[in-house]
Symmetry: C2
Subunit: 204 residues, 2 copies
DNA sequence: TCGTCAATCAATCACTTGATTGATAGATCG
DNA sequence: CGATCTATCAATCAAGTGATTGATTGACGA
């Protein structure tokens, strides 16, 4: 007889913590931090609240766990993409593509990021976990602009760091803007390209 | 003897509601929505919790009140500034200035806006209250770009709406970025100016 | 002066929520 | 088998937390 079905599971702490972090992430995406309840997380994992507290002692630790998992995800993802060999313009296109993919196919991730960033204002633990992610993104984009200015793909008077802020701000802001259709995203991308690219001077 | 000092005040509902909205706004700025408690609001106004509920029946209504007051503030402020007579470039500079002023001198307002926008995702009431503010801002900036393209101040291939999203996103994103110093804000502004302005063609 | 009503508060309710306790079942090892 | 450790849960606690109740106070009109 199969002893598989509905046998009371006993997982090790690592797996449980992963499952808990995942469930917590889903719930944050659904209801925000305000609506995050330990009972809900336990229910979604399929364990008792006490068991949850056995693996993750406090709610603060839980939030730290989510933030850490998030950071780990981003770090892992950025390692998968070696793009130094591409041209600045191509790398910029990849940034567009990555964001679009995240926005339309991993909406949860973006929503949780947003919640975490908001909470980072008041929560030192989260702030510490989130800051490297943001910095990394800024650095990556700024590096693209530095290279692009050097090889003449972009405007010579481009300020790489400021342009990076503008670029990232525009993308993130897209998600909060009035029109989040793919068509409008493309218009925004086109505008960003024109904003940094060398102008074909408007000759009369 | 003076019956003035510490006489138990009795205000009318309009004044009380205003005071409650103001206190709630402060507390949201301080602790976020997550930390907003009716008791704290009542304490800050200097009234009993029951009195607060007498004037504002539910917490939901309270949040709606804050959102409404916020919208009213913005609407009033935009009426005070008649700028149609200015040039597109000048109007753009005013946008920079207004944002800078809000960022550095009314940080509360911006923090609450941010909280409200985040919550608007899940709260229809707030979404309805916030959307007009965002739309208005977008329209204002887009109108600047339309005029600027028409009179040749800005690039001919500028997409006013997309540029407006980029512009607003960049400003809002500044507040979340790694460097929020006035110096860096000025660099961002400069970059935004170059992004929309007609290029002085890089002649060799 | 008396009745009515808006405004207020102390006390309390009903429910939520993070966390703890004490006990139990399975695994692991000697 | 027996000791011990890990993982689990039912039950419960203590501190909130939004909201209500019943009574009180003062203003104002009749």
């Amino acid at each position: 007889m199969t002893l598989t079905s509905s046998a009371p599971k006993r997982e090790n702490t690592d797996d449980r913590r992963r499952a808990i972090a995942s469930a917590a992430r889903q719930l944050i995406a659904e209801k925000g931090f305000e609506g995050l309840r330990t009972r809900d997380i336990a229910a979604r994992v399929g364990i008792n609240v006490a068991t949850l507290h056995y693996h993750v002692p406090t709610k603060e630790a839980l939030i730290g766990l989510v933030a850490g998992a998030m950071r780990e995800d981003f770090r892992a993802q950025s390692l998968v993409r070696p793009r130094a060999h591409l041209s600045p313009s191509e790398r910029l296109e990849h940034e567009f593509y990555d964001f679009q993919e995240m926005f339309y196919e991993q909406r949860d991730t973006l929503a949780v990021m947003s919640e975490l960033m908001e909470r980072a204002r008041r929560d030192e633990v989260i702030h510490t976990a989130m800051r490297p992610i943001l910095l990394k993104w800024h650095q990556m984009v700024a590096a693209i602009f530095v290279d692009g200015v050097a090889d003449g793909s972009f405007r010579a008077d481009l300020d790489p760091e400021a342009a990076s802020s503008m670029f990232i701000g525009a993308l993130v802001g897209f998600g909060r803007g009035p029109d989040t259709s793919p068509q409008y995203f493309e218009r925004l991308c086109a505008e960003l390209r024109r904003a940094v690219r060398v102008q074909t001077p408007t000759r009369n």
